[in-house]
Symmetry: C2
Subunit: 442 residues, 2 copies
């Protein structure tokens, strides 16, 4: 063919995986989903395309520049850039049909046309949970959210991790009492960088901001409070801060950490950290970040917090909530690169049936027996030699080969080969699934 | 708040579900995925946005008009309108890294900006499987594809269904032998409508096309061949058609139906039908449609077929394949409307723990015990009365309530209420999960 071919390619900033990696990705995705569901979160699936007017009700500045926005017919449309705005729209739209507290998870792709750079994606999965209350929402949920995080990262087995938490009321109260309410945002932004830029630079940036020296020392004392979680709370109580918000925040922190223990979260896995603020300005209470202890440079792998009002742009109802998000595409790509996770197999089947010059009836009966017992199975139909067939099974990492020649048909058996141990064994046609299950348990 | 609120809404032609329906949708989605995986299909997840040049390599006419297409920066972009073109691009791009035959499933949303009409969606899920061979692909796969369909629709339990199949070589050979090669497309389009417009109208449309009378009778005889699948094949053999393609098609049909039996498909569930052609011009061999017997008006709920060359627009490699697609969004919406499926519960949890004026420690221990045993569980934290709490459990359709008051804490038990039978029973704290599992089995 002499005609011109179009070069098959995708856009930069989009992640597309080969099967082995996709299997690995799905395993993580499914684990997160399973945990979300085990805590009673309900599935939600909103459209990727929404009306710009609705989606950008709040957005502005950086976010708006990154939006994929276009017209179709008379409609000004945009691709969702997160899952929080669609949730707010959904809850406002259906508040009469939902049961509150409304717990939902959504694990879907979102779109941001950022300049592509390492570790940044233009299309990526967010795995979100949120709990939305009607007028009020129990503080126990502030303990449940980290219990979900704990359960997920324990099961994912990426090594030791730490859930860092803080409370925005503690921060706002503290800075308010120092008379620094107006520069809170700037101060928090500076403090937030302490892990990256160090203590000295934080101090000098606070100075540049015009913060007075004695206040800077109080700030530095505050964010340096150390000890166990209980000791930190006691240190807050001992501080001479006469502010109602502050007192409320301290009380919440104390109760939330108590609930976290009640939820069975090992004390080693969570840590109050007064430098955690989370950039987004809608957090009003508990805030979280999660770091993998051995890979702190990855930054927070799961963050979120409590907000007073989810739906203010759509309705005057008061719907407070709390939620977290895992940026799965980025996390997956980082974990792969750091060698923390590794693809194990290019196949989902446990067994490959390999007919050697026999008819399909017997072959497919064997495959059917295995599949009907709940074991994923494939058949190699191509008329290739034994070597090519075994190579195929090896390449895909399929753990069992079920080889069938004329002798097996005659004796109503198959030759079951364990591809890991290399052992072969004649097994009766009706017992293959059972034998595979037995060998898998060993 | 006096400020203007934006009306929360989505675009017409987009499906968004309330939790009970979303749970039902996911159940169907998960069943399809499970069956696909049990046959060894590998997951694939391609970007929603692709370069227009790549995505529209083949498209034209109607399809192109429906595309969501826009520019971002210097890029001319489009949203995928099916999963076949991205598959072709993917296989061409990664052919060196894939193991053939390459079996993949993709169950994702696609976008078509059609004029909205009943039962048509602009964003909808396609659930596709395809098997791609390198240079060649065993005919056994033509039997495996309907085995997958059979397995799915047996498990989904929408009632009796029929997989209709045909072979394009039979059609092409037959019309070629009649000297009608040039008008095949028109003739097939007319024949395809026979269910809707009836025999007489098919004849009159064929006449309008200029088809000679004796050829029309041969066509009508051909598409009216009746009897069992074997009788139909015998009828083809008995026809006096001297055409190599035709003979090859008949042989394929015979072998494919044989494989389908070997795969354990009940003969009652498939039927050779010479009116099936499938609109798409790239099918070259076996073609399928699937109808729900009691709801034939829904049209085909699962269609596809074999094609000679998937990737011709991207590479000169020859990659034949076979595949099917389930348009899940449309199917779900039709099944709901026809009352064939019904949402059962607004919750994924099996048990709701309800504390009555006791502390969280005991409550969360009970919930933890249940969850750790693999049973999804939720806790009702809000400080409401017993009635409100039971109403919540009832409204969501949660099958078990775990009620805990001071007496239960003292005796280290809970009160387990079966919400369906209404029975209550005191159960030891450590035995709740076991008791729930026992009652569920009854």
């Amino acid at each position: 063919m002499a005609e011109n071919k179009i070069k098959p390619r995708i856009l930069t900033g989009f992640m597309e995986l080969l099967p082995a990696d996709q299997i690995l990705f799905n395993k993580i995705y499914d684990t997160i989903r399973q945990v979300y569901e085990s805590f009673g979160f309900l599935p939600l699936d909103t459209p990727v395309i929404e009306l710009s007017e609705v989606l950008l009700a709040k957005a502005g500045g950086e976010t708006e520049k990154q939006i994929y926005r276009f017209t179709k017919g008379d409609n000004d449309l945009a691709l969702r850039f997160d899952l929080t705005v669609p949730l707010a729209r959904y809850v406002a739209q259906h508040s009469g049909e939902l049961t509150f507290p409304f717990k939902r998870y959504q694990m879907s792709k979102v779109y941001r046309g950022e300049r592509p750079q390492k570790g940044r994606f233009r299309e990526f999965y967010q795995c979100d949970i949120d709990i939305i209350g009607n007028e009020e929402l129990s503080l126990v949920y502030d303990g449940e959210i980290p219990a979900v995080i704990y359960s997920i990262f324990r099961r994912l087995n990426f090594g030791k991790f730490t859930i860092r938490l803080n409370n925005r009321k503690v921060l706002n109260g503290f800075f308010g009492a120092l008379g620094l309410s107006e520069s809170i945002t700037d101060i928090l932004r500076i403090i937030d960088k302490i892990d990256k830029i160090g203590r000295e630079n934080v101090i000098s940036e606070l100075e540049k901001l015009g913060t007075e020296g004695d206040k800077i020392s109080r700030i530095m004392d505050f964010i340096s409070v150390s000890g166990t979680n209980s000791e930190k709370i006691n240190a807050l109580k001992a501080m001479d801060i006469d502010d109602e918000k502050f007192a409320q925040g301290v009380d919440e922190l104390e109760r939330v950490t108590g609930y976290m223990r009640d939820f069975g979260i090992d004390e080693d896995y969570f840590e109050i950290d007064f430098t955690i603020a989370r950039g987004l300005d809608y957090y009003t209470g508990t805030v979280y970040e999660t770091v993998l202890d051995d890979y702190r440079n990855l930054g927070s792998v799961c963050s979120g917090g409590r907000y007073d009002n989810l739906t203010e742009y759509y309705t005057s109802a008061k719907l407070p909530g709390i939620g977290i998000s895992i940026g799965l595409t980025r996390l997956f790509s980082q974990l792969k690169e750091a060698g923390i996770i590794k693809a194990e197999s290019s196949s989902l089947v446990k067994a490959l049936v390999i007919p050697m010059g026999i008819d399909m009836e017997y072959t497919l009966k064997a495959a059917g027996n295995i599949r009907n017992a709940g074991i994923p199975v494939d058949v190699y139909y191509a008329e290739k030699g034994m070597k090519a067939k075994m190579k195929y099974a090896n390449k895909l990492g399929i753990p069992f080969a079920v080889i069938i020649g004329e002798d097996e048909v005659k004796s109503n058996t198959v030759m079951l080969k364990n591809m890991i141990s290399g052992e072969q064994k004649a097994v009766a046609l009706d017992n293959i699934a059972e034998e595979i299950k037995t060998q898998e348990r060993m």
